[in-house]
Amino acid sequence: MALYSEKVMEHFRNPRNVGVIEDANGIGEVGNAKCGDIMKMYLKIEDDVIQDVKFETFGCGSAIASSSMATELIKGKPVSEAMQLTNKAVAEALDGLPAYKMHCSVLAEEAIHAALEDYHNRTGK
């Protein structure tokens, strides 16, 4: 059996929404270099809807795939819905992650939530 599901490898090889949003109104960064994973999420929110999302990730294959999948799951969704994103949803959408890689999906959830929190702080909402 391969280390990762085909879905993980597909997102790792062709990550969606990679990059930076220059005029983002919500930015979240989680993780630390010491542990080997950092995720940074950029959100462009208009009318309480996530119009655009981009990410930058330093990390292993599952960290990059989890970032990619998390952005896909919230893109175009209302903020209230994005707030409900769980690591479980990210992992399931990737057809599962090895047990010792589940923390990558947790980081993705945390990065999205951190970016949303930043948006709330900026807008006072």
Partner: protein
């Protein structure tokens, strides 16, 4: 496919495969049996012992066949510890970047009351003999230092360390798993009392290795049972594996002189090429290293992603990142030579075989350069480094 992970394991040589097949098909007797078929197997076993002994400059009676390097390390250290304890000596000197087969055994012994000193291996990945001398105490029973490091390939000053140990009358063990069959060594000249080796690192099969124990060093059994291996390692001998190991070792050792300059040239070509990648660094001393070992750190990227993308390009290598070790910490070897976590996660080990061409080396250089550049393009760490938010380390 470019296989560049020969420090992890090697392809079995044709001679080894032939030796193994011949034993499996024709000489399948039990070496302990009295009839002809058994005695033929016994002869193969003893011929193999003779061949292995010759390569390392030992007497055949000093060679004990094991299931591999880890078992040999365990038995060597356990034996020296048992002898030490009997004499009231419970201090062991080793280094911070030993293989886990050594480190975890020492950790166990610590729990049993032994005092362990792990020496610094410095930025160049080399143990200083004078620091070994300084660490030795009146109650030291064993010094164990690896011959060549499995990750960064640095070759240790084994002979000088051996001399120091013997001046002080202390047993000296070396884990020579990465060295045997790759660089010339002689246990007598090197003042080695105990040495561990593993067949699959020199084109032999997996699951077999040997322990050299100088005559007079009393071994402690790890496995009790029959009287095989002079009563020091019970269980019917792995004759096919042992015969194949001997065939592989004879061939590998015989080719050292011929292969070393070629391999070293390829290694140096690869090092020169990878140095062109900005903010990268070679791990371990450049010259005191195995002829096939290249190990680099690249700032701003993580090793597992690098390996997966290299695999897509047909290159098989390894990394010391946490994600490839299954723990949260990167390689203890890279930490021991002073690489900080951030940088150690971005490591790549390429261990070359004799089969690679200059064109293969150039393809590796190009591929690694492309993948590192790509991964850096969306690494938040790299962005911080390049924007000056954080200072570069490499």
């Amino acid at each position: 496919m470019i296989y560049a992970d020969n420090a992890a394991t090697t392809r079995m040589s044709d001679a080894a495969v032939q030796a193994m097949l011949s034993v499996i098909q024709q000489n399948y007797g039990n070496p302990s049996s009295l009839y002809t078929l058994g005695q033929q197997a016994k002869e193969i076993l003893e011929d193999a012992r003779q061949a292995v002994a010759e390569v390392i400059g030992a007497d055949p009676r000093e060679i004990l066949f094991t299931s591999g390097g880890s078992e040999a390390d365990n038995q060597a250290i356990r034996s020296a510890a048992a002898l030490g304890k009997k004499a009231g000596k419970t201090h062991i000197v080793s280094t911070a970047f030993e293989h886990h087969a050594v480190l975890h055994t020492l950790e166990k012994l610590k729990g049993e009351g032994f005092d362990i000193t792990l020496l610094d291996v410095h930025e160049d990945g080399l143990v200083r003999p004078e620091e070994v001398r300084a660490a030795i105490r009146d109650d030291t029973c064993l010094v164990t230092v690896m011959y060549a490091n499995n990750e960064i390939g640095t070759i240790q000053p084994i002979r000088e360390i051996g001399e120091i140990c013997h001046e002080r009358g202390i047993l000296f063990h070396t884990d020579a798993v990465q060295a045997v069959g790759h660089i010339p060594l002689n246990v007598k000249d090197d003042h080695v009392d105990l040495l561990s080796a593993s067949a699959h690192k020199f084109h032999g099969p997996k699951g077999v290795g040997f322990l050299y124990a100088r005559k007079g060093v009393r071994l402690t059994n790890l496995i009790e049972g029959g009287a095989q291996e002079n009563g020091k390692r019970a269980g019917t001998e792995n004759v096919p594996g042992i015969a194949a190991m001997a065939a592989a070792l004879k061939e590998s050792a015989g080719k050292i002189a011929q292969n070393t300059p070629i391999l070293a040239e390829r290694r140096d070509r690869l090092i020169r090429g990878l140095r062109q990648i900005p903010h990268s660094a070679l791990n371990g001393d450049e010259t005191q290293r195995l002829p096939g070992n290249v190990n680099f750190c690249f700032e701003g990227i993580e090793g597992e992603s690098l390996l997966l993308l290299l695999d897509d390009k047909g290159i098989e290598a390894s990394s010391g990142s946490a994600c490839t070790s299954g723990s949260l910490d990167p390689s203890h070897v890279l930490l021991a030579i002073g690489r900080v976590h951030d940088v150690a996660h971005g490591s790549l080990r390429l261990s070359l075989g004799e089969d690679l061409t200059d064109a293969d080396i150039d393809y590796i250089i190009q591929s690694v350069t492309d993948v590192v550049t790509y991964l850096r393009s969306f690494s938040p760490i790299w962005r911080d480094l390049e924007s000056g938010k954080k200072p570069h380390i490499l």
